[in-house]
């Protein structure tokens, strides 16, 4: 994948397909440790140990349309190319946490891509999911929770056109602020 944002969409999609209604998506950029971490924690149905070990095998898939699945295998590959790793913790009946870690400065690390558009898409495509997004760049933090948004909005749905326009600008502005408001590879 050319952008990590596409991996993020894949990961959250996995959570939804596992029946999760609560998802925490974290992006942690730590310049002192030189790491970029993507963490997705859900309350889906979880996996047993054998299934958990097999999910980075591209020939193991829940797909029925073809016998190859490349979501997690591609993330595994991209982390290894960047001196990182993919870690999956899961408990049946409780949920799954997937952590993809990259060396931030690695030359082969794909850019994060358009995070603002990705997060907006995730929020409005799944208004019934309790999604919390948190992006940390060293000491700066931006977080957004659909539960808080719906409380503020009251009867107005998350998918209302005015809300979408506002969300677009709100996320983009806050993402830019994380990098000191300057132009950045991800903005």
């Amino acid at each position: 994948m050319r952008e990590l944002a596409l991996h993020i969409l894949d990961l959250v999609q996995n959570s939804l397909e596992a029946g999760a209604n609560r998802v925490l998506l974290e992006i942690i950029e730590d310049s002192s440790a030189d790491t970029l971490t993507i963490r997705v924690a859900d309350n889906g149905r979880g996996m047993d140990a054998a299934t958990r070990r097999s999910v980075i095998d591209p020939f193991v898939t829940t797909r029925t349309t073809r016998r190859v699945g490349l979501g997690l295998p591609l993330i595994d590959m991209s982390t290894k190319q960047c001196e990182g790793y993919l870690k999956i913790d899961s408990t049946v009946g409780q949920g799954t946490t997937v952590e993809a870690v990259y060396r931030h400065s690695h030359l082969d690390r794909p850019p994060l891509g358009n995070l603002a558009a990705t997060v907006k898409t995730l929020v409005i495509a799944n208004p019934e999911i309790d999604l919390t997004y948190r992006h940390m760049v060293d000491n700066a933090v931006f977080s957004l929770a659909t539960r808080e948004l719906t409380e503020i909005l009251g009867d107005m749905p998350l998918t209302h056109p005015d809300v979408i326009v506002w969300l677009d600008e709100y996320i983009a502005a806050n993402e830019a602020n994380l990098y000191g408001g300057v132009q950045h590879e991800n903005s």
Binding site: P58, F59, V68, L70
Partner: protein, 113 residues
């Protein structure tokens, strides 16, 4: 032309799929982006890449490729070779760079499509 013809004339080492070298080679493709290979490599092609992850076996299987050549002296991961063997994918390595190998393949009559 078969994979075996290429193995006989170019500096290629067979890592997996020894029993499938009779496969016909109808073209060639070079890329390190797996999604690109899935979209554009024609069935029957030899694919030249520097990726050594087992995902290359999955891509070769999906795209129906004649062989995967890991170039640049890169060493495929152990699970990649094992996977290629069980999935019936020919996996070759070469010390040549991708550029050099593709040049030699082209001179041997393997063309893009």
């Amino acid at each position: 032309m078969t994979v075996n013809d290429l193995v006989g004339t170019l500096p290629l080492t067979v890592v997996a799929g020894q029993d499938r070298l009779a496969a016909e080679v109808t073209g060639g493709y070079v890329s390190d982006l797996l999604s690109n290979v899935m979209g554009f490599a024609a069935p029957g092609s030899v694919w030249v890449t520097m990726q050594g992850h087992q995902n290359i076996v999955a891509v070769a299987s999906l795209a129906g490729l004649a062989a995967v050549i890991v170039a640049g002296g890169a060493v495929p991961e152990p699970e990649t070779a094992a996977k290629a063997e069980t999935e019936g994918i020919v996996l070759l390595t070469t010390p040549l760079s991708s550029f050099e190998l593709v040049g030699q393949l082209y001179r041997s009559g393997v063309k893009g499509q």
